[in-house]
């Protein structure tokens, strides 16, 4: 089905954009948003395929991914706040305590 291909291609494009974003941005929050973008790209794939196959499992999966994303946002953002409080910065390059 052509329609499905479109969705999948769109999803791949969004995913790649998200990847580039994670790799090139220095702001942690933006990186985090790009990760959300990647997750959403995957979600789109799930929903499209679910629709195509006539099976709701994929959509349930999307539901779980959303839940995880929500949890991730809560914890992640809390960490960013903590990080900012310690370092006065939100730049990923400043987080290098794990360095050798």
């Amino acid at each position: 089905m052509d329609n499905l291909s479109n969705y999948l291609i769109l999803s791949a494009v969004l995913f790649s954009i998200g990847t580039i974003g994670v790799l090139v941005r220095r702001n942690i929050i933006v990186m985090f948003m790009c990760i959300e973008l990647m997750l959403n790209a995957v979600n789109l794939t799930f929903v499209a395929l679910s629709r195509h196959l006539g099976n709701l499992d994929g959509q349930v999966f999307v539901f779980f991914i959303m839940t995880v994303a929500a949890a991730e946002a809560a914890v992640g953002l809390a960490m960013f706040i903590a990080f900012f409080n310690n370092r006065e910065s939100i730049d990923a390059d400043d987080a290098s305590l794990m360095k050798w």
Partner: protein, 170 residues
């Protein structure tokens, strides 16, 4: 070219452009707003894919809850584009990896085969029974265990977020 294809094209262009804006905008608040736009586009797609419940959730959870949280954080930390500071690094290499990712995904799509077996959930059934009910039925029968585990995960996330934020604010 029927109307749905045109609509799909328009919305997908908006989605891609807004996604690019997320990556390119120097100011994080702009990125966040662009991301919200992308999420709305995706919600549109879900609706087009006969998944109204997912569309609703997409708007409520992502655009509503998560993005509000992110915007709130940005505002709280008072982050703005700093002209003196670089907001990008390794751009060419990033683009190369992105393109390779795209190519890889493309070749997946090109080579992979999607089975054409029709499932039981046709648009008709969705219209008759209702999407939400269908999802709910699956969620609370077949996926009850993951569902419960997810709820524990959320609980843990709440506790974790509280502790993380609290300890460092004091």
């Amino acid at each position: 070219m029927d109307i749905s294809t045109i609509f799909f094209t328009i919305v997908s262009v908006v989605a891609v452009v807004s996604a690019l804006l997320v990556v390119t905008c120097k100011n994080p608040i702009n990125s966040a707003l662009s991301l919200i736009l992308t999420f709305f586009c995706l919600a549109t797609f879900y609706a087009m894919l006969e998944a109204p419940f997912m569309a609703a959730i997409q708007v409520i959870v992502y655009a509503g809850a998560i993005m509000v949280l992110i915007v709130f954080t940005i505002m709280l930390l008072n982050i703005r584009a700093d002209a003196n500071k670089k907001s990008f690094h390794n751009v060419p290499l990033g683009i190369v990896v992105g393109i390779i990712t795209l190519l890889t995904a493309g070749s997946f799509l090109a080579r992979g085969k999607v089975s054409d077996l029709p499932g039981q959930i046709t648009p008709n059934i969705i219209h008759q029974v209702g999407h939400t009910e269908l999802i709910g039925a699956v969620m609370f029968t077949e996926f009850i265990l993951p569902f419960e585990i997810t709820s524990i995960l959320l609980l843990a996330a709440i506790v974790g977020a509280v502790i993380l934020a609290k300890r460092n604010l004091s």
